[in-house]
């Protein structure tokens, strides 16, 4: 069994209105050091299977087909084997 953690964020070139709002809010709380804030989505997927390579290919396919919109979003996949 694998657990995939997918992190989806807006591409750098796309304005991230939520991220900008949080950035402003953090500044107003006094965190002047904050340079940038990007908001994103966090998806956890548990999937059956034994071959890491296969699992990774599958999750990437899920990302490009459904989980992320490649026009505006980037994604990262972290895969870990887990006990059933």
């Amino acid at each position: 069994m694998f657990k995939a953690v997918v992190t989806i964020t807006f591409k750098k070139s796309i304005l991230d209105p939520q991220g900008s709002a949080v950035h402003k809010a953090l500044k107003s709380l006094g965190y002047q050091e904050v340079e940038d804030v990007r908001m994103g989505k966090h998806v956890e997927i548990l999937l059956r299977g034994e071959k890491r390579q296969e699992a990774e290919t599958q999750v990437k396919e899920m990302c490009s087909r459904l989980l992320a919109n490649p026009i505006i979003e980037d994604y990262q996949v972290e895969l870990a084997e887990v006990e059933v």
Partner: protein
């Protein structure tokens, strides 16, 4: 001219559209259930507003995989007329029938308000009854209506005259103040390369009667019928 309105489980603009075709335009109209695979021989597909699958993940992301959408995509690629309104526009971009994407409004709020739109192209199935640069008034109601795309695509859209509607002020000037949702180039509606698919965030079906505050939406629907009668339907 037979219209077909796509209904996803969480759509809610379908009854408003149905009313327009049946009562105002008096044209034949039918609902197309998302789980079916038959377009029932319609001449134009309407994808109405709403929250197709709750708009979870991204607006329109899940809807594009509905069984009916395969037929809609094929229909569009063959040159069939498709109009996507609001959530319908979002679905069309997710389905790859239109370029770009619609992201959250910079206000981070849902916005329901009237907007003025400048008609940029009139040689289209959707706007042929409008005057060039005509200013029309139509309401928007969305939280994710900011049109974005990469620079090259944007340039192409402009060069090819595929931006059909642009947010403007009452005088028809395209200004930052008249842009309600941060859309690039104040874009409110675009067509595909062949020009048979229009996606727009404003709601023409909500302004077809004076009693509801305006009739400009009728111009879109009447244009479709005129286009059909003028040749496309023969």
């Amino acid at each position: 001219m037979k219209f077909g309105i796509v209904v996803f489980p969480g759509s809610h603009g379908q009854t408003d559209c149905h009313y327009v075709f049946e009562q105002i335009l008096q044209e034949p109209v039918t609902y197309l259930w998302h789980a079916e695979e038959d377009l029932q021989g319609v001449d134009c597909v309407i994808i109405p507003g709403g929250y197709a699958y709750g708009n979870y993940l991204r607006a329109g992301a899940i809807a594009r995989f509905a069984p009916l959408m395969e037929q809609v995509i094929a229909f569009g690629k063959k040159g069939g007329l498709i109009l996507g309104i609001c959530n319908g526009f979002q679905i069309l971009t997710e389905a790859g029938l239109l370029p770009g994407a619609l992201i959250r409004n910079p206000s981070l709020r849902f916005q329901c308000q009237n907007t003025y739109l400048r008609v940029e192209q009139t040689e289209t199935p959707f706007t042929n009854l409008c005057e060039q640069k005509e200013v029309v008034k139509m309401p928007i109601a969305h939280e994710e209506g900011g049109f974005v795309t990469d620079k090259e695509t944007l340039e192409r859209l402009e060069k090819e005259g595929r931006v059909i509607l642009r947010y403007c002020n009452e005088q028809g000037e395209v200004t930052p103040e008249s842009n309600p949702n941060g859309s690039l180039h104040n874009i409110a509606g675009i067509v595909n390369e062949q020009g048979n698919i229009l996606g727009m965030m404003p709601h023409p079906e909500r302004c077809v009667e004076a009693i509801l505050g305006g009739e400009d939406g009728k111009k879109i629907f009447n244009s479709l019928v005129a286009w059909w009668q003028g040749g496309a339907g023969r």
